[in-house]
């Protein structure tokens, strides 16, 4: 008698499926995941985990957390990051110390693999959610991530 129970189960499972999609159909107006992009440029907010570009956050006193250890430069498979460093005098100890001059990031070569962010021991760099990266001149894609005149946040190295 499995013949008839097969038919019964077949119809039942098909109706279950149709109920699910039917519910989607009715709620699609509110739940639509499509973003009508250029129209909602002002309100569109990307998800936190979206990988748009690598950024280096600075605090109010223009301080960043990058020690200039160059681990990210080594980790990057594409040579996207170039760290131009310098030696300066540490005010507290008076010793010579490595510090970054320019953190150069070539967005055009970045594959958004995230290795640099994983490897950074001081969490100096992270993902930015900007996605409007098209420019007319590719030189505009080479960025210096540390702000001019910025310095290392105290206490990061401890």
């Amino acid at each position: 008698m499995s013949y008839f129970s097969d038919i019964y189960n077949g119809i039942k499972t098909l109706l279950t499926g149709m109920r699910v999609t039917g519910k989607y159909f009715l709620t699609s107006r509110k739940g639509a995941i499509t973003q009508q992009y250029p129209d909602n440029r002002e309100t569109l907010k990307m998800f936190d985990r979206f990988r748009g570009e690598v950024i280096m956050p600075h605090d109010e006193e223009n301080q960043h957390r990058c020690t200039g250890c160059q681990k990210c430069e080594i980790a990057c498979p594409n040579g996207t990051i170039e760290i131009i460093w310098d030696r300066g005098i540490d005010e507290e100890t008076g010793k010579k110390k490595k510090k970054i001059d320019q953190f150069v990031y070539h967005l055009s070569m970045c594959t958004m693999c995230g290795l640099c962010i994983d490897v950074c021991p001081t969490d100096a760099i992270e993902w930015g959610q900007n996605f409007e990266n098209s420019v007319y001149d590719r030189a505009a894609l080479t960025r210096v991530l540390n702000e001019p005149g910025s310095k290392l946040m105290p206490g990061v190295e401890d």
Binding site: L14, G17, M18, T21, T34
Partner: protein, 354 residues
């Protein structure tokens, strides 16, 4: 052509008064053909748009809404684009058959469209074997598909065409038998009379249980006839490229595409006519205005079209063996038993009549 709608009647009289009879009837036939071509293209384009919007809503998307109000002109723009595209072909294709195939497909669906009553007397070709004609014509379309797949000299196209042949030949049987079940009640094959019979209640009510079973079988087999998902093995994008129309481009591709949607409309229209009273309004509320019949007919048909779209965006594609099992082991025996039940119902006068 019986024309009680006053406009068509006036044109008919005017034509026959100004010209000799032979010329007038030829002119009239041409006019009707043009009107039906118009219906064909407008309905096809509208259905494509409807499919895309409905599919989008099922998938929590928005769908085309940029060209024209709410995307109404989107498919028109697509058709214009396809018109302007180059017609490519394969070098070793059988040129004659390759070019002939799309016309087989659209001509068969146009011929099927001709016998469907849109409303009282809006009916190009009211023959007394209407249903039989529909069943016969709907199997000609598959020849176009087979020709297209065979002549384009492409193995994916050939596999797609062969699958389509297998599928259509099998499911043809269920379509025919489920319609025959209903013919047992109506006692006629003529579509206009089938609608007349339903003035005492739609056939799905008159025939109650066997009619509902027949309706379910008809919808399943009809979906298979039109090669739509979950029975879209003839096209199976993930397996065969585009199936039988892999090698077609431009307008010839558009013919296949439009014909597929018109076939869906035809299946839904047959179901609406045979099971849901065609252009009859529910409880006869607008019986005095025959023109509103078009509205009721389209409302019923589009509801059924929506049902088929719902199937398409819910169910996964069947395998070939599952497809044949479904037809030969389930639908066909159920259908045969159903005919006997229906015969008993009609014989014992168990139909529900208002």
């Amino acid at each position: 052509m019986t024309t009680a709608l006053s406009i068509t009647k006036n044109i008919h009289d005017w034509l026959f008064s100004t010209m000799p009879e032979g010329v007038a009837s030829i002119v009239e036939m041409t006019l009707i053909a043009l009107v039906y071509l118009g219906i064909f293209s407008v309905a096809g384009l509208f259905l494509v748009l409807m499919e895309r919007r409905v599919a989008a809503w099922f998938q929590l998307r928005i769908g085309p809404n940029r060209v024209g109000f709410q995307g109404l002109l989107q498919t028109m723009a697509d058709a214009l684009k396809l018109l302007s595209k180059e017609l490519t072909g394969t070098v070793k294709a059988d040129k004659f058959l390759y070019n002939l195939a799309p016309y087989f497909v659209i001509i068969s669906s146009l011929m099927a469209l001709a016998v469907i009553p849109f409303t009282k007397d809006f009916h190009a070709f009211d023959i007394n074997i209407g249903i039989f004609f529909l069943i016969a014509i709907s199997s000609i379309g598959v020849i176009g598909i087979l020709l297209g797949g065979w002549s384009s000299n492409n193995k994916f196209a050939l596999i797609g065409a062969m699958r389509s042949g297998v599928q259509t030949i099998s499911y043809e049987l269920s379509i025919g038998l489920s319609l025959l079940t209903m013919v047992l009640i109506t006692e006629t094959l003529q579509l206009s009379e089938i609608v007349e019979v339903q003035k005492n209640g739609w056939l799905i009510v008159q025939g109650h249980i066997p009619a509902i079973i027949a309706f379910m079988i008809f919808m399943i087999a009809g979906t298979a006839e039109t090669n739509r998902a979950p029975f879209d093995m003839a096209e199976a994008e993930s397996e065969l490229g585009a199936g039988f129309h892999t090698e077609y481009s431009g307008m010839k591709f558009a013919y296949f595409f439009l014909a597929e949607f018109i076939n869906m409309f035809i299946i839904a229209a047959i179901a609406a006519t045979v099971f849901f009273g065609g252009w009859l309004s529910p409880f006869g509320i607008t019986e005095s205005i025959p023109l509103l019949g078009v509205f009721w007919f389209l409302a019923k048909t589009l509801t059924l079209v929506f049902l088929m779209m719902w199937f398409r965006w819910t169910f996964p594609r069947l395998r070939v063996d599952q497809l044949l099992t479904l037809e030969w082991k389930y639908l066909l025996p159920i259908n045969l038993v159903n005919i006997v039940i229906m015969a008993a119902v009609v014989w014992l006068n168990l139909t529900i009549n208002f």
